[in-house]
């Protein structure tokens, strides 16, 4: 990042910066390099990618030990068709590991810069605060996408290597050809990825509130956990459809004989609602808040 170049404009108010051509593009590039190149984030991605690998190896070793056919849905299917390893891994990671990882990256986005004292330098880049926030959001979204894709790709490779891939048997008992099956699993991956956008927005908002990144990360993960706890309580059934995590498992819709577009659209609409609310909250906070460090 060309902080040195832009430092000259430092006296200009941050919300009316002198425009430079390509400043946003350069900022995006540097943000992506920062997020995806940070050692902690790489360790997180590798950790997530280990889940399908471990799951695959354990299932491979256990299938002859009479332990096959046990456990939650999908997992038992993996030994018959490696394609299911992608779905099973996402199924296992969706409730906690994935939100944890994404909460860490999105909670860190602004608060991390604030805590190391680099936020004030970022604000003198000739890019408005709103656009800077958008760039930060893009970085967090890219990390979320990388997490989901990492699980999917490692799952696919491990599954294909250990169990082979075959025509896909849907939850409804119908068997579809391999190409259709791969398309449906890709749909599952896309849906899980899009399901995380609401959480990214929540994390970004918390990140603008504090200079303590750990606080923002923890708060983000707590939102996901509280949401899934509320989702289990029948007493608050009326708010269930609007909960952040309520529709996360609707990815299974892709594996039914006739996927219901309504159900999928509903799940994505709820995520969009969370993105709009917490995105604008983050924007309002970030563009008006005093930045002192």
């Amino acid at each position: 990042m060309s902080l040195v170049d832009t430092a000259a404009t430092g006296a200009a108010p941050a919300d009316a910066p002198v425009r430079y051509r390509g400043a946003t593009a350069r900022l995006v590039r540097s943000e992506l390099a920062l997020v995806l190149g940070r050692r902690r984030n790489i360790v997180l991605l590798v950790g997530l990618a280990l889940v399908p690998l471990l799951l695959g190896v354990v299932l491979y070793l256990a299938q002859d030990a009479g332990l096959a056919g046990q456990g939650p849905p999908f997992v038992a299917r993996v030994t018959g068709n490696g394609l299911f390893l992608v779905v099973a891994s996402l199924f296992l990671c969706t409730p906690f590991l994935l939100p944890l990882t994404i909460g860490i990256a999105s909670g860190d986005a602004i608060a991390g810069e604030a805590s190391t004292g680099t936020l004030r330098y970022l604000l003198v880049v000739p890019v408005g605060r709103g656009r800077l926030l958008a760039v930060k959001a893009l970085g967090a979204l890219a990390f979320a996408a990388a997490s989901v894709l990492g699980i999917a790709v490692v799952g696919l490779v491990t599954g294909a290597a250990l169990f082979g891939i075959d025509d896909l048997t849907l939850l409804s008992g119908t068997t579809v050809p391999l190409a259709d099956g791969v398309l449906r699993v890709a749909g599952v991956v896309a849906y899980v990825g899009l399901s995380m956008t609401g959480l990214v927005a929540v994390g970004l908002f918390f990140s603008t509130l504090t200079e303590v990144p750990v606080g923002a990360m923890a708060a983000t993960v707590v939102v996901a956990v509280v949401s899934s706890v509320l989702d289990q309580l029948p007493q608050v059934a009326v708010i269930h459809p609007a909960l952040l995590t309520h529709h996360w498992f609707d990815f299974a819709e892709m594996l039914r004989v006739v996927p219901s577009a309504d159900v999928l659209a509903q799940g994505l609409a709820v995520q969009a609602g969370w993105v709009v609310v917490f995105g604008t909250l983050a924007w309002a906070r970030f563009t008006t808040g005093d930045v002192s460090s």
Binding site: A7, G10, A11, P13, A14, D15, G69, P72, P73, F74, A76, R77, G80, F91, R120, Y121, L123, V124, D167, T169, L171, S172, G173, T174, T175, P234, A237, P241, A242, F249, F251, A252, L255, R256, V257, V258, S260, D262, A269, G273, V276, V277, G279, T280, L281, W283, A284, T287, T288, D290, V291, S292
Partner: protein, 420 residues
């Protein structure tokens, strides 16, 4: 170098925070609007008497349809929803909300899928055979007639002729109404909207004061005359129905062929169950048509299987079975199930009836693998001389002497009936 940004003015701050406020309002509005709009569109349907309405329903042809049904049971039973852990299972219908997808071509073929979190339990029926498929244990159960029986059934269907004295739907409707009005009042309630469709509501209110059933409300589509929703209200809760089965979305069009066909997926375990077809003599006694020639007589007059006794009338009817080996039944002993007298379960609507029949255990023993002993212990409470299950709509009294009493009355009424 001063890089601290100039503090925004107060009005700018206010303007910025107005954006998320507006966003919250817009999002909340977007989520609240569809249900409000749906309930606001109460139609101006032509007034119909219960008699006219019933006639229309009986006249209507079975419809090809596909849709989503939500079944909600608030029977006061312990929560058995295990779909998250164990996958979709018909037992989850006993409590809580369950979503089902239904497809039917209006004739021989249909599919019902019980949706769980990342699991599904499907029932596919095609004429004389049916399959169930459980995604959680990858098991297919295939119910079919033996080849001989299937051929006979085909022949019978081909040669079947409706009898000359078949009553018109009008007559049948009047008769059904008269019968219903013996023990209950039947009325047509204000029009409503179910799954976005205008619907008439038929309300059946039992006259008896002891029965647990408060009233039964059936919503009937105003254009196709298919039942869209059945609600059974308990007598002690006027706010929410104890049992509700209704479409949340439905289209009346023939479903895709792929949905209605089933072949066992490779690798799945298949259990074959051959259903016996009654011999020709027994079948000859049945009317070879879907429409009965007359409604069954009062259950008290009907010939009863051995070991079955019916006391009480109308809604207070108590069915008593004697010599039931409950312990063996609970343990899933097929022999004990086979020895059970066949008591037909009659539900309020054709839709509910069909659904029940699709899910009711057939053949030799329940198709669901469950720890039935634990389930039995959990569902029933010990009472003097046996165990009792009491729910919002139905009570079951299992006595140690092998008698089982069932009725839509409180447990005390069952005990009184048992003491007679």
């Amino acid at each position: 170098m001063d890089t601290t940004p100039v503090s925004p003015t107060r009005s700018r701050i206010r303007a910025a925070w107005a954006v998320p406020t507006a966003a919250v309002v817009a999002v909340a509005g977007a989520f609240a609007a569809p249900p409000l709009l749906a309930s606001a569109g109460s139609a101006t349907l032509a007034e119909l008497t219960p008699e006219q309405l019933l006639t229309r329903v009986l006249e209507s042809e079975p419809q090809a349809l596909s849709g989503t049904v939500v079944h909600t049971a608030r029977l006061g039973l312990p929560d058995l929803s295990m779909t998250q852990v164990a996958g979709a299972d018909p037992v989850s219908l006993l409590s809580g909300s369950t979503t089902l997808r239904v497809w039917s071509d209006g004739g021989q073929r249909s599919r019902v899928s019980l949706l769980g979190t990342a699991s599904e339990y499907s029932v596919v029926a095609d004429g004389t055979q049916a399959w169930t498929y459980s995604s959680s244990d990858d098991e297919v159960v295939h119910y079919a007639l033996s080849p001989d029986d299937a051929a006979r059934a085909e022949k019978m269907r081909a040669t079947a002729r409706p009898p000359a004295d078949l009553p018109t739907p009008d007559e049948l409707g009047r008769e059904a109404l008269e019968r219903a009005q013996r023990d209950a009042t039947v009325s047509v309630d204000a029009a409503t909207t179910v799954a976005g469709r205008d619907a008439y509501q038929v309300v059946v209110t039992p006259r008896s004061s002891t029965t647990l059933v408060g009233r039964i409300v059936v919503a009937v589509d105003a254009r196709t005359w298919s039942p869209l929703r059945v609600q059974v209200w308990g007598s002690d809760d006027a706010a929410t129905p104890a049992l509700e089965l209704g479409f949340t979305d439905v289209t009346f069009a023939a479903p895709d062929d792929a949905v209605l066909t089933f072949s066992a997926p490779p690798g799945a375990s298949v259990r074959e169950i051959v259903l016996p077809l009654p011999d020709d003599a027994a079948l000859a006694g049945l009317a070879p048509s879907d429409l009965p020639t007359s409604l069954p007589d009062d259950p008290a007059d009907a010939p009863l299987p051995e070991g079955t006794r019916v006391t009480g009338t109308g809604w207070d009817t108590v069915v008593e079975l004697s010599d039931v080996d409950v312990a063996a039944l609970v343990a899933g002993d097929p022999g004990a199930v086979a020895g059970l007298p066949q008591v037909d379960k009659q539900l309020g609507s054709a839709g509910a009836q069909e659904l029940y029949e699709e899910f009711a255990p057939e053949g030799d023993g329940p198709g669901v693998d469950l720890d039935t002993v634990a389930l039995y212990e959990q569902l029933t409470t010990p009472v003097e001389g046996g165990r009792a299950l009491s729910s919002a709509l139905l009570s079951v009294l299992v006595l140690d002497d092998g008698r089982v009493l069932v009725g839509a009355v409180p447990v005390d009424a069952l005990r009184a009936a048992a003491g007679e």
